[in-house]
Symmetry: C2
């Protein structure tokens, strides 16, 4: 692929840092400039060699950039796009790693309307409950899906460029509409995070919380692993995608109402039917994942 | 410890089979007799060397037994106890591995009222989403908690014997009242299982289920791992402990109502507060578990 002479990564944490490390390891990038709101995290990125240069000023960071990755929590995208807009040259391709797409795209329409040909939203399906540049590693995207949600205004060469760059990170490329993306991830990612945070919060408030956690075992550990995720990032995702998330939460509440009715009436046959369907679906999915 | 000349295990699956293997490896057991409802699973246990002799008849299995472990799904305990009662000798110690205790104890009062001095209920906090004797292994209980819930009628030497036997499996002994046991495990085990089964069932029914599962990633995998658990076993647990489980489900529904209200009003500050409390509690718990 064509080399990226200058890459700008805004938000050099787990996601942005791993993107920089992956492209550097692929040997396709010249200079990497890190932009951020905290000089401490930029210095950590510099000292780990994830970026070559740190900047807190878009006027200084953007000139000569081929590609910009926005990897901040989605709640900051509006502010970030407003700040970068005056300094963005025609031809600089902009993508992002936001877990929600409709809100990021709305911000792009608000602030980058003169650049929409080159703004190609994307979402890497990769992450961990760790965060920060210290957790970044070059193979994070290896074999992981990246969903690109192109805009009607996009220049096809800009879309191809974004696909090519994620491909260089080892990712598997997919395309979806932003609406479809946000509905799918509300169901399989945003809702489970909300549920896990909720369960731990519910138990942690109890007078006997210490006793409860003392008897929690491996099932509880796995069920609640995602409740160790970054609170600010997940606040932003939940707020940004709250329309789709509310729809998923309500569908789940209907499922719980059904389970509750079966418990109330002691209907073991119906309960076992649901458990059996769930186990079958879960096992089929897990086996397929292992094969792929 | 004193040797067990004859051990009877009723239900030679993951739990019963691992108990047999652990005691055999500890060198504290003479003959092991397996009792079950399926001759196929008893034959599998025989051919793996987990048991020395198989029986489908209590009159044949019980004479001379020092210790009986009941390791069937809790929904079968009533039937099992009724069947064994006429053949149970005074002095044979009976324990069980049921995940719920009040229902098992009620069955003991119904059928083993002449033997209550020697019936000492217990619950090993160990398991996996695998099941069957093929999944059994001798170190399953190593370092795991076993909760003993003695009855007021128990002979102290029978309680000591049950503690000693689980200790020989490498377990850490705890005691609780049956009521307290069932409340604690409704919160940290039974509810998470119900929630995970419910989420997978909810998604598996959708017209776009295939697409949803296609995009589900590692967070979803861990959150739903327990939805791969044994449907009959979990049906029995949910029905047996439905009073406490309904209390926990309702507390969780109140938590979800709160989260829903924050989503509706776009209250990011309150959402982040909950996420932050949950992460803090979850991280503290996970770190403590690693140390212990």
């Amino acid at each position: 692929m064509r080399t990226i002479d200058r890459l700008v990564v805004c938000g050099v944490g787990l996601i942005g840092g791993s993107f920089a490390l992956a492209l550097r390891e692929a040997g396709v990038v010249g200079e990497i400039v890190g932009v951020g709101r905290s000089s401490a995290s930029l210095e950590a990125a510099l000292s780990r060699g994830v970026i070559d240069r740190a900047s807190m000023d878009w006027a200084d960071a953007l000139p000569g950039a081929d590609l910009v990755l926005l990897a901040t929590p989605v709640g900051q995208m509006d502010r970030v796009m407003a700040a970068m807009a005056p300094h963005l040259a025609a031809g600089t391709v902009v993508t992002d790693a936001g877990s929600t797409k409709r809100d990021v795209i709305e911000a792009a329409y608000r602030h980058l309307d003169a650049h929409l040909a080159c703004v190609v939203p994307s979402h890497p399906i990769a992450g961990a409950e760790t965060s920060g540049v210290g957790a970044a590693f070059p193979t994070l995207y290896q074999g992981r899906k990246v969903v690109v949600t192109p805009l009607p205004e996009n220049d096809p060469s800009a879309v191809a460029r974004v696909r090519e760059v994620w491909g260089a990170c080892g990712a598997i490329l997919r395309e979806m509409s932003p609406q479809e993306h946000d509905r799918v991830f509300a169901a399989v990612s945003h809702l489970p995070h909300l549920l896990a945070f909720g369960l731990v919060h519910d138990l942690a408030q109890r007078a006997n919380a210490e006793q409860l956690f003392d008897y929690a075992a491996s099932g509880f550990r796995d069920f609640t692993r995602i409740a160790g995720s970054h609170p600010e990032m997940w606040r932003d995702i939940c707020i940004a995608n709250r329309q789709a998330l509310l729809g998923e939460l309500d569908a789940y509440l209907a499922e719980l109402a059904l389970l509750r009715a079966y418990l109330m009436t002691g209907d073991g046959i119906s309960l076992e039917g649901i458990f059996d369907d769930a186990r079958r679906a879960r096992t089929a999915w897990a086996n397929q994942k292992t094969e792929s």
